[in-house]
């Protein structure tokens, strides 16, 4: 990815995560409405508390992406978080946006992965295939 494209994607993703975090803080109950009933039954805490935790996670991911600190790990956690969101919210009108955010976060992770870590992963992949 071109360096400028990477930074445009990084800042865009950061704003998305930060803004969603703020909106969840504003109204956690409404955002909790997206969570499937079977997931609510599995939660060890109230849905509101779980949504507040989600808001904090979104804001931390967004802040790290915005200031370009620990970017690969923030992007990886962001992508994982979006996978969980896709799992627990089911298919609805906003699923397509979640897919876009997930792929964007994963692209950021893939592009910002340090070379040393990439080499390690390739070595591990070869070891597994042998």
């Amino acid at each position: 990815m071109k360096k400028s494209s990477f930074h445009i994607l990084r800042v865009g993703m950061a704003i998305t995560f930060l803004w969603i975090g703020i909106l969840i803080f504003k109204n956690p109950e409404a955002w909790g409405g997206f969570v499937q009933p079977w997931v609510v039954d599995l939660l060890p805490m109230s849905l509101t508390d779980a949504m507040m935790g989600t808001a904090v996670l979104d804001i931390v991911i967004g802040a790290l992406l915005l200031v370009d600190i620990l970017t690969p790990w923030a992007a990886l956690v962001g992508a994982g978080h979006l996978l969980i969101v896709l799992l627990v919210s089911g298919i609805n009108d906003v699923t397509v946006r979640d897919i876009a955010i997930f792929t964007g976060a994963f692209a950021l992770f893939n592009d910002s992965l340090p070379e040393a870590m990439r080499v390690k992963l390739m070595f591990w992949k070869k070891k597994v295939s042998n």
Binding site: I15, W19, I22, K26, L66
Partner: protein
């Protein structure tokens, strides 16, 4: 809510931009200058600090304050009036400072810095959005 979304987006862009400038300065690098070639001239000039503090740090603090205030206003954290007035004061002061810095680039330094202009346009746009939101 639309105005707040735009104000928060612009604050976040300002944060990322000033963090980039601070990082390049700390690493003794020159920032990429996408348009024009005057970034180094402006950023290394004697006008790069105000009251002993680097302008990029002052900008970062202003943008962080604006991002937090916008978030407080969206979430509804009291006292709403205090945050609202605070935001207008910060954007108003930053707009005036940006006019002065743009004048310095045009008439004193005789060089244009892409990042400084981007920051100026960001803060002016925030001012326009605040004024606009009063009428709709």
């Amino acid at each position: 809510m639309t105005a707040f979304a735009l104000l928060f987006t612009l604050s976040a862009i300002g944060i990322s931009e000033t963090v980039y400038l601070i990082r390049t300065r700390k690493h003794h690098e020159h920032p990429v200058c996408p348009i024009g070639e005057g970034c180094e001239v402006v950023l290394d000039s004697k006008y790069n600090h105000t009251f002993g503090i680097q302008n990029d740090i002052l900008g970062l603090l202003a943008y962080i304050a604006l991002a937090f205030i916008t978030a407080f206003l969206v979430i509804g954290i009291e006292p709403i009036n205090f945050w609202s007035v605070g935001m207008k004061i910060i954007v108003g002061m930053a707009s005036l400072v940006s006019i002065f810095f743009t004048y310095l680039q045009a008439k004193v330094i005789h060089a244009w810095c892409f990042w400084c202009l981007m920051s100026a346009f960001t803060i002016w746009l925030m001012g326009i959005i605040i004024v606009w939101s009063q009428f709709i």
